[in-house]
Symmetry: C2
């Protein structure tokens, strides 16, 4: 497994180097604006719609960058990830683009649609019993057996650097902003984003967590990584139990504040995005927008990462509580 030292923090040069590797491969996703939204919050909002990114979320950036930095021999042995969600899909796609093998470890009760998506990219799925087996151990064992490279979902410098490239693109389109709003799970997206934003100027960086899983907020407040039980929230992309060591170190330096939003507020933001912007956001993809809609974000020019759109129509209808009468 490739692992950078933790002595020095992720740098803007890491993010820029990732951007060069991703050039022509990632979608340069649109930065959307809405007069309705601006009038409602009294600020100009620039929303980077990573829901339109390849594989449906920003995770493709970090996954691709992580595969791109491997040498031919390392790549030849394939890559491994444990993830039932967007990181798994993203790594499966990245591996397919390099023509190498990918094995994704996911719980045996993962939604069949997610398994199908990973297999659709040609990756192999290995399942485990989430109540009796440990996915990290399975991933490590697989990695050791095959000599394959394990790509962690967030606490890995090439992943963090890749995720930061979305903010480079955002700033390039929006021009200067006062505040950047970013969803926080394990901290991969926000550590890369904050690194890009702080380099660009005097930008306040605000992370947003689901109320039920406010470990990052508490970690920053206490100065130590707080570990929680898997939080009960609809924001399945943020059901992490703690931030990582490397991501936390960056967050301590470059993140100004962490806010939380309720599941109800997340649903309202998903509906707002649907009806006003005509775009589909998964719950985690809407947490930053939820904080903005509540009026919690200061600044005249606000950037926000809408991090993903991987939610099926049935779950969207269930979450928003709007569907009842079958046609």
């Amino acid at each position: 497994m490739i692992r950078s030292g933790t002595a020095s923090l992720l740098s803007i040069d890491d993010v820029r180097a990732a951007a060069a590797r991703l050039e022509g491969v990632v979608h340069r996703t649109p930065v959307m604006t809405s007069r309705t939204l601006d009038e409602r919050v009294g600020a100009r909002v620039f929303a980077k719609a990573e829901s339109f990114q390849r594989s449906g979320s920003f995770k493709f950036r970090g996954a691709y960058n992580s595969v791109a930095i491997l040498d031919d021999e390392e790549r030849g042995a394939g890559v491994v990830a444990y993830s039932s969600g967007n990181h798994g899909q993203a790594l499966a796609l990245a591996a397919s683009l390099f023509g190498i093998a990918a094995t994704i470890v996911m719980p045996d009760d993962a939604p069949s649609i997610k398994r199908a998506a990973v297999e659709g990219y040609g990756a192999k799925v290995v399942t485990y019993d989430r109540y009796r087996e440990n996915r990290e151990e399975i991933g490590a064992t697989l990695s050791a057996e095959k000599n394959a490279v394990l790509i962690p979902p967030f606490d890995h410098r090439p992943v963090m650097a890749g995720q930061g490239t979305a903010t480079l693109e955002l700033l390039d389109s929006s021009g200067p902003i006062d505040t950047l709003v970013v969803p926080v799970g394990g901290g991969g997206l926000i550590s890369g984003s904050a690194t890009a934003a702080k380099d660009a100027g005097d930008v306040r960086v605000i992370g947003v967590e689901p109320e039920a899983g406010d470990d990052a907020r508490r970690s920053l407040a206490t100065g130590e990584i707080v570990v929680i039980e898997t939080p009960r929230t609809i924001a399945d992309g943020q059901q992490t139990t703690s931030v990582g060591e490397e991501t936390f170190a960056v967050m301590q330096e470059r993140v100004d504040e962490i806010l939380t939003v309720s599941d109800d507020e997340i649903c309202d933001a998903m509906v707002f995005a649907f009806e006003r912007a005509k775009i589909v956001l998964e719950p985690s993809g809407a947490t930053g927008l939820a904080a903005i809609l509540r009026g919690s974000i200061p600044g005249d020019r606000i950037g926000v990462i809408l991090s993903g759109g991987n939610v099926d129509a049935r779950r969207f209808a269930e979450l928003t509580g709007l569907g009842s009468a079958p046609r």
Copy 2:
């Protein structure tokens, strides 16, 4: 009311002149592509997402063009439309951009969200009883009383010309195509689109209607305008009872074929757009995609107009029959 003669057909010059008037005012909406879709249908598909157009549909193009060609005196008296749907919203927005008055005539049982949208653009709403009153008469009376200009929803050359500009943009992005697929209601969109497509080259133009309202198909087949009862279909943007005289004349010359799709096929296309492309389409906006997904469209390079995205989240959930458990 401004009305061009019907002796000569809508021309490519009309469409180009409209494009010049719309420059910098309309959103140049994205032309989306999807590997999944291409693999499924065995062709390259270029989808012009007019769901992202101002006011949520292509209707803004024709409405704005119709207001733009008026002289100051005509504009000063304001504009009138009878429409409970996208044309009403579009004209309300166009009028507000010119700082003139707009009156939109809609049935008293129109959804409150549509009424709110029109009023949100600053237009006045006049309601009527759809079972006892005639909207054309009300519109004509209002127009005569105030000397305001009535802007018809489709059978009006400036409207047809404006709608055609979406295809100019599509072709500019896609390059040459073999087939263009366009939803048909009253024929405003397809007459403008076909005019632009046939000028560009040897493009087969295929219209798509909901199964229950196949009056355009029958009209082209018989050579005479067929008038039907208001069709029972979820595609509310295509619940017209007949095409117009001017639009029909253009369609006879430049439309090769009309296909129909069922409401179930429309729903499937809405869900496909949601889950794969992460975009919101209203039922009428998805009819072209539905025909493509069914495999009914010939050609290696297919263009399609996704005509609008004005559907609220509740109705989307009801239509797709997917929501049941309230959160």
